[in-house]
């Protein structure tokens, strides 16, 4: 087997607590499909047959995705704030080959073979996917003022071919300066540093990295710690020299990354090295070193330009994804066959109506998503909104640019603009709300 897929679905959605305090993030509906359906669909389309899904018991109970793949659910405790790397350590026994780690909040239609081909062709330790950031155009409920850009930028350094990942740092980790090691500049004199990239949280990792994680318990998060560590390790002197054995004996506390080819029998690895040595190919020119500068640890990145790639971890991203994902992914009818829509209502072509919905007369629904079992009464105007499951909207309401969560009730005549109505909330009749986040009192206590 070549690759094992792992979907990380245990995250809490800490950046959109308003949405996720009642519903776990992997089950948030996007285009009336749970969020986790999108990465699973991506994996299924490219041919994976088995996926390991790391999630909480709650999600496991509520999840029912019909997919041809075999999903192996691994449940972890919800309250234990487990980092993604810890989750990988938890399933280390199940991992037999190289892995492809996907986050549950990734919605993309990238051709995954580009990422995996880099991993295969260059025998890389890490291969990841990044995408150019899109500006979010929709107004986000509850946001006051313009979005502050530049607070959590990622600085990504790639070589002149645009594939080899040389440098990665987050603005939060830097004080005032960007420090680049001389060893990097010596080997790659031309480096392009990009800031407008968003990490899709899709990684191909070698099995030896998982084994390394098992030994080195100090790394908790893949994105936050493991990836920058691997990128730095490419140019660290110890991996390039022959002294790896001494290093591993010396420091037991800071366990060094052993050269990744230990798991293959030494004879075979010699053959591959011999083949490379005799090959007349070099990934760079201008200096006297061999291909890859003799380094065994290589990190590659595929930066995609055109296709859609969203990470649904903020409210703005959630709204944007709801807008665009259905256009790319919906195969069935936008209006579910079991929905009852009265004839005098107007449902726009780009709206999605879920199962068992009830839309009464003279209601107009434009550019919106209505979840399952929702009830829309007469003369309701819904534009640009996301209505989740089980919502009741009484007559005469006007809802614009809002997100209404599960089981909420909007009483008659309410006028809601750019609001986020939390789960189970009840908006009183004739209310006028503009740009507010309406959540329960218990939610307000949780900070």
């Amino acid at each position: 087997m070549e690759l094992q897929a792992v979907v990380m679905a245990a995250g809490g959605g800490s950046r959109m607590m308003d949405l996720t305090y009642s519903m776990p993030k992997p089950l948030l509906p996007v285009g009336n499909k749970p969020l986790i359906w999108y990465p699973l669909n991506l994996l299924e389309k490219i041919g994976f047959e088995e996926v390991i899904v790391i999630t909480t018991k709650e999600v496991h109970k509520q999840m029912n995705i019909d997919t041809k793949m075999k999903l192996e659910m691994v449940c972890i405790q919800e309250d234990a704030d487990m980092g993604t790397a810890n989750a990988l350590r938890h399933i280390q026994q199940k991992i037999k080959t190289d892995i492809l780690v996907v986050s549950c909040d990734l919605i993309t239609d990238v051709a995954l073979h580009e990422v995996v081909d880099l991993f295969r062709a260059h025998d890389a330790t890490l291969s990841m996917l990044m995408s150019k950031t899109h500006e979010f155009t929709e107004t986000v409920p509850g946001q006051k003022g313009k979005k502050k850009t530049g607070e959590q930028r990622d600085f990504v350094g790639v070589d002149s071919s645009g594939k080899r990942l040389l440098f990665m740092a987050n603005e939060a980790d830097l004080d005032e300066e960007l420090v680049i090691k001389k060893s990097i500049m010596r080997k790659h004199p031309r480096m392009h540093i990009k800031t407008g990239l968003v990490d899709a949280h899709l990684y191909c990792l070698k099995k030896s990295v998982v084994d390394f994680l098992a030994d080195n318990k100090s790394i908790t998060s893949i994105r936050g710690e493991l990836i920058p560590y691997l990128v730095r390790k490419q140019f660290s002197a110890s991996t390039n020299s022959q002294k790896t054995k001494d290093d591993s004996e010396k420091n037991q506390k800071k366990t060094d990354l052993k050269t990744p080819d230990i798991h293959i029998s030494s004879k075979d690895e010699d053959l591959l090295d011999l083949a490379r040595e005799k090959s007349c190919w070099n990934d760079h020119r201008g200096d006297m070193s061999d291909a890859y500068h003799g380094g065994k640890l290589r990190c590659y990145v595929h930066i995609m330009e055109d296709s859609m790639c969203y990470r649904v971890n903020t409210l703005a991203a959630y709204i944007e994804a709801n807008r665009l994902a259905p256009k790319v992914f919906s195969e069935e009818f936008p209006i579910h066959p079991t929905a009852e829509i009265s004839e005098q209502s107007m449902v726009g072509a780009d709206s999605i109506i879920g199962a068992a919905c009830h839309v009464s007369e003279k209601s107009s629904i434009k550019r919106s998503t209505i979840g399952a079992s929702s009830c829309i009464k007469e003369k309701v105007k819904i534009t640009n909104s996301i209505i989740m499951n089980g919502v009741t909207i009484e007559e005469g309401c006007n809802i614009q640019g809002s997100v209404i969560c599960n089981q909420a009730v909007i009483n008659r005549g309410a006028d809601i603009k750019y609001c986020l109505v939390g789960s189970g909330q009840c908006i009183e009749a004739e209310a006028e709300r503009n740009n507010e986040v309406i959540v329960g009192i218990d939610q307000l206590m949780e900070i």
Partner: protein
Amino acid sequence: MAGTEDITQQELNNSTGETRDETDSRKNDYLQSKVEGKALSKEEKLKLRKEKKQQKKNKKDDKGLAKEEKAKKPVPVMDGQQAQQQKAPPTSPLVTPEAPPTGEKSGKSKVELRADRRARQDVDRTSKQGKKGDRSQLASTAKTKAPPSEPQPVVKRLPEHIQADDPAVLKKVAKKLERQQYSRKAPLTQQMSIPSTVIHPSIVHLGLQYSQGIIAGSNSRCIALLHAFKQVIRDYATPRNEELSRDLVNKLKPYISFLNQCRPLSASMGNAIKYIKKEISNVSSNIKEEEAKTTLQNCIDKYIEEKIHLAAKAISKSAFEKISDGDVILVYGCSSLVNYILCDAFERGRKFRVIVVDSRPRLEGRETLRRLVKKGLSCTYVLITAVSYMLPEVSKVFLGAHALLANGYVMSRVGASQIALVAKAYNVPVLVCCETYKFCERVQTDSFVSNELDDPDDLIVTRKGKTELQNWQDIPSLRLLNLVYDVTPPDFVDLVITDLGMIPCTSVPVVLRVKNVDQ
């Protein structure tokens, strides 16, 4: 028309009658050859005549049913197109240009159109038969789970008896050859499932490395291939009711065709594959599977050790005698063997300098230059355009070879034959270094009859921000040709240094014969 047919029959009879009489006469040998010559062409002529007869018969029928034929005309055209599309599902965008050729034919006369249609139907019939045979092979060897097509086996070649002067057939053949060029833009992995189940992962890795040029060079490709085969054998498990000796060979077939599609196999790889297949079939059914697998892996190691390592050492030893102090040696491109020889000679204390000749688009000489300078040799670097300027200084030319053909021709990187030619003109000895495992039984007298085509976009160069040939595909009368190999006639090669010793170029068939007898 019947009359002409009778005449042709008579001609045949007469010719056979004549030969029978004349074999009695004294000039036996001369006439024997004449007979044989006639016999061969007779068969061909017979076949062609049968074809013509068929066509004429069909034309007779057609004339009777003129209206019905007109109605039928669009249907065979569609069948032809569909058959083409079935043949090449992965490259569907390239099939659509075939629609214009059929459209252009509306200008021709009715008779010619019908002849074309008949020829096309013959092609389709034979190709469909061929496809049926291949499909049954595919079903037995590959899993049928993934509905998107896994790479088809070997690109189909048209049977030879199809009239080669039929423009429709010629166009189809041309399109097929074109398809093999643009390998880098449409990687095969696009259509394959990502955790590749049908093709072993190490073979997919290898195919990718071939097509991207990460593993290039005859020896390195062969070693990488054998390494991948070792992985395959290691992960292989004999299914029930099957024998390892037969099943493993069948398992390897789709892998080999996949690698062939990524990049056409080299002669060294071909010979290595033959060797492995022979070893696998020779595995006796008595021994256990584990033992058989270890034996096979040891065989592979032995092959590499003998044919590549020890051969290189032997060649280096012979070549050392040919390199004298104060020599100026000219090398071309990047040959792992020639680099090894030069480094070895330098280590043993010979004093010489090297001129590295390089050529676009690959510019492999830069890699040679880097390796030699790293060792400490003093080198000069020129492009092939300057070779006649440098040659008066040169005392010897060392060339590597991709393969040595059975008629003594040397197949090497494109440009090597030029170097040999110019060296001959300047009376500089040309020595070709080649291991015996690269000798192959093919015969080729020029570089065009069979060659590998590389990505034509590599030829395009951007200077000062301007790329002149950027949209060369839009110009209908322009085609870019990027050849990879060329053949050097044996007259230009003075000596071939092999692990069996130093032989003249014309002794290659002797070596091949001796090798076959050994095996």
